[in-house]
């Protein structure tokens, strides 16, 4: 990522921001509300074009190699991207199929891992906010992308859930994955902290 400038409206949120990430690294973006954390994540996943500069993935501008970047990247925004009228299982099935995963075992394992196995036939509209957040993060498990971009992944999630997710982050990093996340809480596990780079926005 090079000299990126991001703005909402006519207000520049950050400029000349540059960093490099390599396999096995975690980038923790911190900053107060309204400092542009979400904007930065949306630029990184290709939803937003930066005002200046560019994001490179494997050395190529993500606007020109969009399909590689999209295939190798999973973005979990602050909205869960789930349909309230579908059950937990159906939601995960659609997400899995859209990311090219047709293996029922992977889907079932993910549901078990996230602690949602007993709730799989419940409509998502009837799940709690924390359960919905867990299900949204289930995308990570069915797609298996290299780059995970997570906007406040721990919102509404209890201590158990946080443990499960942090364990997944660790195994992803150990498997040479990359994680970019925003979070107001500090990361608790030492395995995460030793691989962590922090960028703070003002």
């Amino acid at each position: 990522m090079e000299a990126v400038q991001g703005a909402r409206g006519d207000r520049v949120l950050f400029s000349s921001l540059s960093f490099n990430l390599s396999r096995g690294q975690l980038l923790h973006i911190t900053g107060p509300n309204g400092s542009g954390k979400t904007t930065l994540l949306r630029i990184l996943c290709g939803l937003l074009t930066p005002l200046e500069g560019m994001v490179r993935w494997h050395g190529h501008d993500i606007r020109s190699s969009a399909s590689t970047h999209r295939r190798e990247c999973t973005y979990i925004g602050h909205r869960d991207g789930l349909k309230a009228e579908l059950t937990a299982l159906e939601n995960l099935q659609v997400n899995a199929r859209m990311s090219g995963c047709h293996d029922t075992k992977v889907i079932n394992d993910s549901l078990r891992l996230l602690g949602l196995w007993d709730y799989q036939d419940l409509l998502v509209g009837h799940l709690s906010a924390g359960q919905r957040r867990r299900l949204a993060l289930g995308r990570l498990l069915v797609k298996r992308a290299i780059l995970w971009i997570l906007d406040e992944p721990f919102t509404a999630i209890d201590i158990d859930g946080r443990d499960i997710i942090e364990a997944q982050l660790i195994s992803h990093l150990q498997g040479d994955g990359i994680v970019v996340l925003t979070s107001h809480q500090a990361l608790s596990r030492p395995q995460l902290r030793e691989r962590c780079v922090t960028v703070s926005l003002q």
Partner: protein, 249 residues
């Protein structure tokens, strides 16, 4: 190659602002001159029409504005496409500055058409194919302008309205021919205004001069609008600060 370099420089907001600023007075003077010549020839020199008498003279306003209404739409869609494909900011500015001007030409064509229609058809408005197409064109312009105004972010607004302009330009011929077809179906053959097999040179000359004058008028207003739009868009850059400092003593 030289030409290309000129355009490349011209596309930078700062150079555009400067060059456009120096072009406007000359263009405006020429526009005024041609308008006066065209109006004089059209109103005083050209002979009255053997069928319509004096009322046909509104043609010298109506026909150029109808031509311009279509031409400006093409320019708007074309520059919007350039802006979307090559990500040139100035092209978007030109496209969106064109929209209100084109809508005004369309409105002028509608008003003059209806004024002309009163003596010809005995009614202010008839569902004539040309007038109806022109009315739909006005709706298309209003749609682009409304969409542009609806977004808070200029970049999103420019691109969204640009896409709509391109969709519109594909539809303009389809709408035009469907309306023509509908018109012959429901009204039977009506006498259209341009039935005259050949137009007399003394009428053609003012018509052409007025058309050129309208074209230049468009250029002048476009450059003026685009300049202020560029100034607003680039308000964070240094050259705008410098320029504004120069203005205020």
């Amino acid at each position: 190659m030289r030409l290309f370099r000129f355009f490349h420089r011209f596309a930078s907001p700062r150079e555009f602002f400067r060059i456009a600023g120096s072009m406007i007075p000359w263009l405006a003077a020429t526009t005024l001159l041609l308008l006066l010549i065209g109006l004089y020839l059209g109103l005083f020199v050209a002979p009255p029409d053997y069928q319509q008498g004096e009322s046909y003279r509104i043609m010298f306003i109506h026909v150029p504005s109808a031509w311009m209404s279509l031409f400006v739409y093409m320019v708007m869609a074309g520059t919007a496409a350039i802006g979307l494909i090559w990500r040139i900011k100035l092209a978007h500015v030109i496209a969106m500055s064109s929209a209100p001007i084109g809508a005004s030409f369309t409105f002028l064509a509608l008003v003059t058409g209806s004024l002309w229609g009163k003596p010809m058809w005995g009614a202010w408005w008839v569902w004539d194919a040309r007038l109806t197409s022109e009315l739909i064109l006005l709706f298309l312009y209003l749609g682009v302008m409304a969409l542009y105004a609806a977004f808070e972010e200029r970049r999103t607004a420019q691109r969204a309205a640009g896409i709509l302009a391109i969709v519109g330009v594909i539809n303009v011929p389809i709408i035009h021919y469907s309306v023509m077809w509908w018109n012959t179906l429901h009204q039977g053959p009506t006498v259209t205004k341009f039935d005259a097999p050949s137009i007399h040179p003394s009428m053609l000359a003012p018509l052409l001069i007025m058309s050129v004058a309208f074209m230049l008028f468009y250029a002048v207003v476009l450059l003026m609008r685009a300049r202020w739009e560029v100034l607003d868009q680039e308000q964070r850059s240094n050259w705008v600060d410098d320029y504004l400092e120069q203005l205020s003593p």
